[in-house]
Each structure stands twice: as structure tokens, then as C-alpha cells.
Amino acid sequence: MTTKNSGALVSTRRAVLTSTVAFAALAAFSGVSGAAEEKPRGGSVSINIGTEPPVLVLIAHTAGAAYYISGKATESLLTYDTDFNPQPLLATAWEVSEDGLHYRFKLREGVTWHDGKDFTAEDVAFSILALKENHPRGRATFASVEQVNVLNRHEVELVLSKPAPYLLSAFASFEAPMVPKHLYAGTKIAENPHNVAPVGTGPYKFVEWVRGSHAIFERNDRYWGSPKPYLDQIIFRFIIDPAAAVAAIEAGEVQVSIANLPLTDIDRLKANPNLVVDTDPPPYSPSIARAEFNLENTYLADIRVRHAIAHAVDKDFIVSTIYLGYATRLDGPVSPDLAKFYTPDLPKYAFDPVKAEKLLDEAGYARGADGFRFKLYIDPTQPSGPPKQTAEYFAQALAKVGIKVELRTQDFATFVKRIFTDRDFDIAIEGMSNLYDPTVGIQRLYWSKNFKVGVPFSNGSRYVNPEVDRLLEAAAVEVDPKKRRELFNAFQKLVVQDLPTLDIVTPSVITVYDKRVKGLKTGVEHLWSNGADIQIGG
């Protein structure tokens, strides 16, 4: 592997070298001719994504690390502008029937797969059904899709059993990749070898994946969106150690870094004139940090205890000290980045330890001889970083109001098993993705019918409120956007009142990149898009 690795690095260096020469030539040329706007073509960009994903195509997987990679080779039907409006990608036009039960997509013509075969409606129909059957989220997203009809070579129609108002938001490239039927048909989708060696229609073709080191994609010269892509190649690196990741971006070994960088280093990186620090999360699927209460616990089942906890912790302290300001305080289950559904008009629990103590006294839990009322366990998702620090802070803050808290740490798999299978927890400090629509990303966490032991990221607190269920179920099939929004507003108010989970912050997603790199952030997908617009200039 070492030799292969160094070989790749050498070739990277060579590529950079050639591209530099190309730029020099280009610059000289434009200098002579005085041509104004010439998009820089060529070059290579290395992106450190930190964690290495298990697959490169998300047809039957939702590995977060692969979000950055999947869309580069395998595209979907749509992309989205910054206001979340659908834009053409593999589909050039689409229409939804009045009743919301028929979706018709007109597909782009003259598109070929990386292996030279034509992209047709058959591939789309096959892929959507494959997603419905194999994709962990797709099973829910496409649950109401009854049939996919191929109308002709470049037109498909989706027939739904009930309206799914979020469906048009689901066709981002990393979320619903289109895969070639001729390579996937008749195989086990989840085990298809092309999941680790993608063949798609995207702007970049797969070259190699050296496990533990990097994955290389090169320019697809026959891309339908010619003259895009501008780059000759994209290299994904997997440098997970935070200190090494910082060193890599500072040394110019990678041009873009979305790995977990130590927050304390961000200010220093900001001062570097060659780097740009971007802190906006991709609005397509904002993450939130929250404290999930196990309502099966006798103490936490009491709403006064939950309210007391909310008053005992200072979210602003968490924002300023743990996240060093790289997060936004959150008072409800929807991140402000999901602007369409966010409502700022929610009850807020002020930091007020005195009130917390009062609530705990009222609940009948007086301080014992040792100064504590009762004891709870707290489990952070990770044994390090902000989740653990948040848990440490909770332990300290709750001790002050008389709740003894013991911290437990474990690896991620054990954490997931503890919360959702063993149900052996009191408070879990976790990150949860909002996804592109509350019906997909948020309903699962609060809907009483989604309390399923053994299913990760379901209703882990075992929250049951018939009114919340009703609002969620109504919103899931409501076609009118305005009414739908009202339903979700009512839902947010209700869960913030009941507080089955305490939403804490929505963390910034920090992207650090070389200032010569342009076109990284497109629409709401940002770096999860197909990357056709990325350029590297002089």
C-alpha cells in the first residue's frame, strides 16, 4: 500500500505541476489577447473529508462521509438553488399533479454512463425502485411510490398511493443516486461491486480507491454539462486526526478540508491569507445537537424534571465555550438553516438554576444528605470533542442543582445499541440530522409510532403525544405548503413545551479551503453536490 500511496502522491504532484504550467500558459495567453472572463480549466483539487466511508455510492447506504463523494460520479434527477427550489440536473422538466399523486419527469437526452451506454428512463425507474427497497431512508421517502412507469425513452412517471409533499426535495445526487440498470439489474444492490467503484453520469469518473488513504476521480470528458467540469481530477483524502488535518490544509497538501478541525485552530486558519474559512452548514440537511431524555426513566418522565434540566443548563455557555462560537443556540427541533420550516416563535427556557431547583423541589425530589436529589447517567455520542464536552458540562451544571450525573463513554456502535436497542440510558447527548424535510428528518424522532426498539435514530425518548402524532401525520400528506408550515409550527411549539428532548445548538460546519478554489458551494447541497462547478485558479 505504501508504494501505491506514494505513487499516487507523486502523480498528484505531477498533476498539480502540469496544471500550474497550463495556468501559466493560460495567463500568458489571456494577457496577450486581453480576453476578459475565461473560466480556468484543468487542475486538481484534494479534499480531505476526514472519515473514510464504507462505500462511494449511496444507493443502499447513508454513510455521512460518502455524502461528499457519491454525487461526483452518480447524479440524481434534480439539484436545488439556494432557496431550495428544484433545478434541472438529469431531469430537464417535471410536473406534479394537483392531487400530489402523479409526478412526471422529462429526462435529459444525449446523456451517457461512464461506460459509454445511454442513460434512459429504464435506468431511472430501476434506480427509484432500488432506492425504495434498499436505501435506509429511501424506504420511508419512497414508501408511497406505488409504481414507476416508463412512458418513453426519456420520460418517467411516479404514481403514489398518498401525497408525499417532500418528494421533490429528495432527488439530490447524494440522497437518491441514479445507477445504471445494466450493471445493477439482477444483483444484490447493497453488495454490488460498483458501490465501491462507481459508474454514473456525473462530471467525474472513478479511477481508484486506496483504502485508508484516498480515492481519485478524473474528469468525465463526455459530461453532458460540457464545458463543465473544470477540474482534471478530484482526490478525496481521509486524514482523520484533527491535528494532522490542520497541518495538511496549512501545508497545502489538501486544498479543501471538511474534516473535524480543532475549533481552537480556526482563528489561526482565518488569519492565513491563503485560506478561506466557511462556517455555513449545507441547508439541505442541517445537523443539530440535542439532549435526548429517556421518558421511561421515573425521574425524567416528570415534565418538571425536564423543565428543571432545561433551566439548569446555559446554552450560551455551550455555544461560547464548547463550540467557541461556531454554533447557533437552538430552542426547538428545527435548525434555522432549514429556513422553510423553522419558527423563531418558540418558548425559551432561560438559564435559571434557582428556578430549576424550585421545579425539582416541587416535583418532590428534595436534596438528600449528600446534597443530591437523584442520580442520572449521561452518554455522549463520541468519547471526545464537543459531544463529550457538552456531557461534561451537563454533569457539572446539573450537579449544581442537586442532580448527580455520571458520565459514560463508548464507541459509536455501542452508543447506538445502548440508546435504541438496550434502552439503557437516561440522557443521551447526540447529533441528529434534520434532513431536507421535517417529515423525513424530524417526524421519526417524535412520532409515537416510530418508537421501535432496535431501529437507530428513531423515537429514542419514547415520546407519546396524540396531538403531535396528528400534526405530523397531517403534515406528511398536506400538499399546500402554507398549511403544512402551520402544522409544523404547531408541532414545534408542542414538543418544546413537552420537552422529550432538549435541543441545544446547531453547530457550524467548518470548511477550510485554498482561496484559489472556487465554486465549492452550490445551492443547498454545498459540497455534497456533483462538484461540476469547482475550479482552481491562480
Binding site: D265, R268, E392, A399, R408, Q410
Partner: protein, 333 residues
Amino acid sequence: MSTTDIATLRGVATDRQVEAAEQPAPPTPAEAPSWSNMRAPDARSQQSAAVSVTNGRRALKVFLSNPNALFGTGFLAFVILIALIAPVIYPGDPLSMVGRPFLWPGQNPAFPLGTDSLGRDVLAGIVHGARISLFVGLVATALSLTFGVVLGAVAGYFGGRIDDLLVRLIEIFQTPPSFVLLVVLVAIARPSATTVTLAIAIISWPTVARLTRAEFRAIREKDFVVAARSLGYGHRRIIFSEILPNALPPIIVTSSVMVATAILMESALSFMGLGDPNVVSWGSMIGTGRELVRTAWYLTALPGLAIVVTVLALNLIGDGLNDALNPRFSQEG
């Protein structure tokens, strides 16, 4: 322990050393050259009583005249003292967030060694960390010594099928890389000071067991053991009163190094986030400070220094004990 046995200890130990080089060599008892071919323990008892006392004193003298060993002992005593008085000088939870985050050492007299990223007092952490490090180091070593010595003694003394069986058992534990085994054990059990200590003991006892077994195999054929057997001593008495005291010196030396190793292993576990999250240890302080090494290096350097000096002290003590107890070096004293 009878004086006879202590006396033979020296002779036997020398035996073993020489044997390693050219075997079988005539035993040359260190303190009794005139009786170098003496084989009957009881015949020698009169003289050796005096010899043994000198030996114990001599060992202590050698140890105390070694400046490195003295430094090690002194520093270890200091760390033990700090650990004992930690709750007095820093009452309360060392994990509580008491000050402004990222105060550098010396910046605020209330926090002489500064504060970490969450505003926790670094000095309080180091002082309380000494308790955990020493607790884990000493208890894990004590456990693995007990277990390892008993099993090694039984295997070495009885030999045969018992030996085969126990050696296989030891090999099972020695086959996987010990630190990987440690990580697996701690990941399965919930990390806490107790589980970490037990896990370290589980991976360290095979070393002791092997060492003890080798000693016992060497000693059990010695004449004084044969004599003890012919006098009708029981197995237990022979193992614990006759052979074990003679086998102890290398085990004592090893154990001081084992304490150091256990402290390092606990630190490594905490560094990886597998330590007990409810207590401060030096390793966990380094682990949380690691990400900040470019901006606040003191957060890793200070607890790191504590580990380095403590482990160094234990190693110096180990060297000193080795010099004092190993008869090969005893002639010049």
C-alpha cells in the same frame, strides 16, 4: 521463613545466573566462598544466619547509596503524598469548571498552572490525576502479581500436565497484542477506574507468571528443596516458604517496572477516550488537550511531564532494586 532459606537464596540466585551462561556450573555462593561446594543446607545454617542479615542490610545499603534510586524513591514518595492530600488541598470535583477557559500558567495566581478549554483548573487535575494513576498502577500490579505468582509457582513447581495446561493458558493471553486486548476488554466492559484496573491486571499477569515459572523450574531441583522434601514438608510450605523467597528478587524488580507500565497503559486508554470519564487522569488530560496542542501546548505538556517523571522515578527504583538484589553486582559492595 527460616534463616536457612534466606541464606541459600544468595547461593541459589548466583547459581541461576551462572547456569544461564555455562551450565551446569559449580555453584559459587556469594558470601561463602570457603563453602562453595556445600550442598547440605542444615550443615550450613550456623554460618549462614549471620550472612543473611548482612545481605539484607547490604542490599539496603547498596540501594540507598545509589543516587538515582534515591531520587526515584523521593519523587515517588512525593507523588504518593500529593495523591493522599489531594482532597485536602483541592477539595471538590477537579472536573468542575471554575475559571475562564484557556488561562495560561502564571496568568492568574488562582490557577498557577492555568485552565483548560472548559475552564477547569489544570493543577487540580494533575493533583487528583496522581490518585488515579497511582491507584491504577499499584492495584493493577498487585493483582497481576498475586495471580501471576500463584499460577507461575504452581506451573513451575509441579511441572508435567499442570504446567502444560497453565502454559497454554498463559499463551492464550500472550498471543494477541496486549494493548489491543486491553482496548477490547475495556470497550466491552464500561470504562471505569475499576474495569480499567482489572483489564490492565488481566493483560499483565502472564509476564509475572512466566517469570515465576522460570524461577521455580530452576530452583525446584536445588538441593535445599530436595532436602525440604525429604524432611516431609508439604507442597504449600515448599512453594511459599522455601522456593518463593528465593525467586522473589527478579519479581520485585519487574513489579516496579510494571507499576510504571500500568500507569502508561491507563494514560494511553484515557488518551484514546477509553478511560473513566468521571475522574481526571493524566492520560485523559493529555487526550483532551491533544487537539489544542498548537494553541495551548501546556495542556498536554504539564500532565505529560507528570507521567514522564513518575514513570522515570519507578524505573530508577527498579534499577536500584536490581542493583541491590542481583548478586552479580553484589561483590563490589
